[in-house]
């Protein structure tokens, strides 16, 4: 485990994105209750971790995150960045009052955003594909992650009615 192999554009990109993303979380009006805010930040961190350590490492090893196959601090920062994507997915899901057929278009829209962000990440040296992996395989990952996130949010709304309340933080 190390901080980073070399401090260059991928580290700068991650730090800048991280600052921008968490600033946005802080500045945007609070529409989710604190438990849901915390839950979906951790949800994003966990989903990115599980896919990276399963597809991007171990026996499959389809891609490398940042400069090496070793665990770097910048890898950890990348997962903190992914946490905000999950948060904003649910945030705008609520703000835009997504339901019924809109869910399909919402997920497809976020899949396009995900692919663009992945292309930019690849260009900035954050992700490096190997063992025959191609960016279009990520469509499957995005569809799985975003569909489960949307369905889980719907389930939470049904099982925990307080989910719709925003606390005094607002």
């Amino acid at each position: 485990m190390m901080l980073w192999e070399s401090y260059d554009k991928n580290e700068i990109y991650i730090i800048m994105m991280l600052l921008g993303a968490y600033l946005a979380v802080y500045i945007f009006p609070k529409k989710l209750s604190p438990p849901l805010m915390l839950l979906f930040l951790v949800w994003g961190f966990a989903t990115s971790t599980i896919f990276d350590f399963t597809l991007g490492g171990g026996l499959f090893d389809y891609y490398k995150v940042n400069d090496s196959n070793k665990y770097e601090l910048s890898d950890l920062l990348t997962y903190f960045l992914f946490a905000t994507f999950s948060y904003f997915f649910v945030y705008f899901y609520k703000v835009l009052r997504i339901k019924n057929v809109k869910i399909i278009f919402y997920i497809l829209g976020w899949t396009c955003i995900g692919l663009v962000m992945e292309k930019v990440s690849s260009f900035m040296g954050v992700t490096h594909y190997q063992s025959g992996y191609h960016i279009y395989y990520s469509v499957v990952v995005f569809l799985i992650v975003q569909t489960t996130t949307a369905l889980y949010y719907e389930l939470i709304k049904k099982k925990w009615p307080e989910a719709n309340h925003v606390s005094h933080m607002d």
């Binding site: 949800w43 971790t49 307080e162 989910a163 606390s167």
Partner: protein, 157 residues
């Protein structure tokens, strides 16, 4: 064989969790699950791929067994522990449950070595005991954090 054993164990944990009278609500359970999942994945990666103190089979079936245990088995079993922990009133009973849970986790880790999914190089069950003890403490901590945050929301309504 390895895959079948772990698939059965994970099925058993999920079934127990499904029928268990849960003290934690869906948000608390999910939060604890995700926190334990993150720790479990990072810990496995560190001891196997970074420090090389445990080696992992490179055959497909044992590797899949390892994946389902790491990503589903350990977090679900931890959830069962936390749900039982919150039911128990006395501190001594809580401590006994904690130690029992840790011993169960170590016993399950020994199945992994006996089935040759993992091989301990510079590692032993004593380290496993410490790790699972810390993991259970983290699970209780995660539950308490989320419970406190949720209490604030309910009181604010």
């Amino acid at each position: 064989m390895e895959f079948v054993v772990y698939f059965f164990l994970v099925w058993l944990y999920i079934s127990i969790f499904a029928v268990l009278h849960k003290r934690l609500n869906i948000v608390e359970n999910t939060f604890v699950y995700l926190v334990i999942l993150i720790i479990s994945i990072n810990y496995s990666w560190l001891v196997i791929d970074e420090f090389n103190v445990i080696s992992l089979s490179e055959k497909r079936a044992p590797y899949l067994a390892y994946l389902i245990n790491r990503s589903i088995g350990i977090p679900i079993l931890t959830l069962i522990f936390v749900n039982l922990y919150t039911r128990i009133p006395t501190l001594i009973q809580k401590a006994m449950l904690l130690v029992s849970a840790v011993i169960l986790f170590v016993a399950l880790a020994s199945i992994s070595t006996s089935l040759k999914i993992t091989k301990y190089l510079n590692w032993n069950y004593g380290f496993d005991f410490i790790y699972y003890f810390v993991l259970m403490v983290c699970a209780i901590g995660a539950y308490k954090i989320m419970h406190r945050v949720m209490k604030g929301v309910v009181e604010g309504i």
